[in-house]
């Protein structure tokens, strides 16, 4: 991984011969310790106190047979994926509506959508699920647990998406808004036509990581009797008394699906960056919800952390930095806070930051642009003459 390389080169020099020897010895020692731990775990599995050998083929065979796949794992995986896809689509729509609601000029709309979003983010998803499950079951709905899983995932993840849209708009350079106002658009028009579309492109990578969160959270559905992958593997395990083995198979399936999705989330930003003036950052798996009722800048501090990471070695330089690191600034006043924190707009050299030092790169682009201009001018002049 490139990131590990970066950090290791951050903390120590190229080791000399003695250092290399030390590192090699430590490497072997650590490797031995880990192998020892794995052997101990396997021994424990082989011979648990007053239990049967967990490694025996008799227990693993029913967990890996064709019938296990066709009757249990694959139907369970389908239920998991079905609920996740519906929940992601729903939370996009929900997040779009309430993200807009929090940005509109009307104070009443802003407050109401703010309260709803903050409430849905503070309540544990499992509680939402239990509530909706019982409620739907009492009102005689069929597939109560399925709709409970989908609806509670929409409410929670939709609120996170709403915050992503809001912070996406906040991270846009102020010029976008100012330019659209100067063109005579109203505030709402500027929001709808200029700012939010760009914010959506900026948040798409984060939305993919949100899909991972949704997929992991559908497993909560097994607590309310939704027959997802986890529930099916438990049922299979209780038939042959090999729950440990069936759970391991289910865990491997979850791991593979989530790992593929997080790979997608890492690739996506490069494509999305072209379509937005904000920064399309990959958000960590499970972008845990900050409480924006207090401060919008929580989101951005995470963004700052990643901004440095992505930029240090040859990454695409960001055009705009997050303006209010570690401050209580509201998005609308970032210019002022930036000033009182010591970033003086009129003295650009005070804004120099470490990861911004690769100025040659920027120069190159600028000079090539000016070259083009020069050529254009030349062309014009030749045409004239």
């Amino acid at each position: 991984m490139s990131t590990t390389k970066d950090e290791s080169s951050l903390l120590f020099d190229q080791p000399g011969p003695r250092g290399l020897r030390k590192i090699r010895i430590a490497n072997w020692l650590a490797g031995l310790v880990f192998i020892l731990v794995i052997v101990l775990i396997l021994l424990r599995l082989h011979n648990p106190p007053d239990g049967e050998n967990q490694l025996s083929w008799e227990l693993w065979k029913p967990a890996l047979e064709t019938e296990a796949w066709t009757d249990f794992y694959l139907p369970g995986l389908w239920m998991t994926i079905k609920a996740s896809i519906l929940a992601v689509l729903g939370s996009m729509i929900y997040g779009f509506i309430f993200g807009m609601g929090r940005l509109l000029p009307s104070k009443i709309v802003r407050t109401i959508s703010g309260v709803i979003v903050e409430f849905c983010r503070a309540v544990p998803v499992l509680m939402l699920m239990i509530f909706f499950w019982r409620w739907f079951a009492f009102s005689g709905m069929s597939e109560a647990s399925y709709w409970a899983v989908v609806l509670s995932l929409i409410l929670y993840n939709g609120s996170v998406v709403a915050e992503l849209i809001r912070s996406g708009v906040g991270n846009l350079p102020g010029g976008q808004r100012e330019a659209s106002l100067a063109l005579g658009l109203t505030q709402t028009q500027a929001l709808m036509q200029i700012e939010v579309p760009q914010a959506i492109y900026a948040m798409l990578p984060a939305a993919v990581t949100q899909l991972i969160v949704v997929l992991k959270d559908t497993a909560l559905g097994s607590i309310i009797m939704y027959t997802d992958l986890l529930q099916e593997s438990r049922r299979l395990g209780s038939m042959y008394f090999n729950i440990l083995q069936t759970l391991v198979v289910a865990a491997v399936i979850y791991f593979i699906v989530c790992a593929l999705l997080s790979k997608l989330a890492r690739i996506l930003p490069e494509h999305m960056q072209k379509r937005t003036a904000a920064t399309a950052t990959p958000v960590d798996v499970e972008p845990v919800a900050p409480l924006a009722i207090m401060d919008a800048s929580n989101v951005n501090q995470i963004a700052v952390a990643q901004e440095v990471d992505g930029n240090r070695y040859g990454g695409a330089p960001l055009q705009h930095h997050v303006h209010h690191r570690g401050s209580n600034a509201s998005i609308r006043q970032w210019r002022h806070t930036r000033y009182i924190q010591g970033y003086d707009e009129t003295h650009p050299e005070s804004q120099e930051e470490v990861h911004n030092r690769e100025i040659p790169n920027l120069w190159k682009r600028k000079s090539s642009e000016t070259d083009d201009d020069a050529i254009d001018q030349q062309n014009h002049s030749t045409e004239k003459s």
Partner: protein, 225 residues
């Protein structure tokens, strides 16, 4: 209104929240320790330590917490006979703490790592130029600044941990709040909305101060650069 008051006298609602808080505090403590170990491994010059730490984080970030909890009870306890105490509820409590710790440590490690990324390169270069070794520069220069930079992500991780502690229901911790809510709804189906809002408001009240504290601390501790 009287029904709701009667619910409070009939069930120990604050007690249920206390169980969640205890789960959270113990798991926060242990996952913080494990997370620091993991992040030091992650930035160390020894490549096998780095690999193991990266593998751990990748594994636990891509597994649902529910499956880990179910595994602790049905796999580790029922089949591997791993147990902490002869009393059932004490045993399940600690199994849930272990599950939450294993899961949260991966996220603590990632939060700290993002904090390390906020430390400018010059700090590490200066430490090396002064002749500090890896452990000296890590523990005296880099990590203290990294902690201050990672207050916000860490706070978010612990808020998520508090909410995740309800998943202990999957590890048979029956005294915890989501289990109690489920039980109350079963017997008082008429006041289902009131019961839900009691518990939901409980979480809002618990989480708002943590969020405020996180914001306050991250502002106060942020290294101004």
């Amino acid at each position: 209104m009287n029904d709701v008051l009667q619910l409070f006298s009939q069930y120990d609602i604050p007690g249920a929240f206390l169980v969640n808080i205890e789960l959270t505090l113990w798991s926060a403590l242990f996952s913080m320790i494990l997370g620091i170990v993991l992040v030091v491994m992650r930035i160390s010059p020894v490549s096998s330590l780095r690999t193991v730490s990266a593998a751990y984080v990748a594994l636990f970030q891509n597994l649902p917490l529910t499956i880990i909890m179910v595994f602790m009870v049905l796999g580790a306890f029922a089949q591997l006979k791993l147990s902490f105490s002869n009393q059932f509820d004490v045993n399940f409590f600690w199994l849930a703490v272990v599950g939450l710790t294993l899961y949260t440590a991966a996220f603590v490690c990632e939060s700290l790592r993002s904090g390390i990324n906020t430390v400018p390169l010059g700090q590490a270069e200066a430490a090396r130029a002064l002749g500090l070794s890896f452990s000296e520069s890590a523990f005296q220069i880099i990590l203290p600044q990294a902690f201050r930079g990672s207050v916000a992500p860490l706070g978010n991780t612990f808020i998520a941990l508090l909410k995740n502690s309800t998943v202990a229901a999957a590890a048979s911790v029956a005294t915890e709040s989501s289990s109690l809510m489920s039980e109350m709804i079963e017997y008082h189906a008429n006041s289902i909305v009131a019961i839900f809002f009691i518990f939901a408001m409980g979480y809002v009240i618990l989480i708002l101060p943590i969020g405020a504290l996180t914001t306050f601390l991250s502002n106060k501790l942020a290294v101004r650069r």
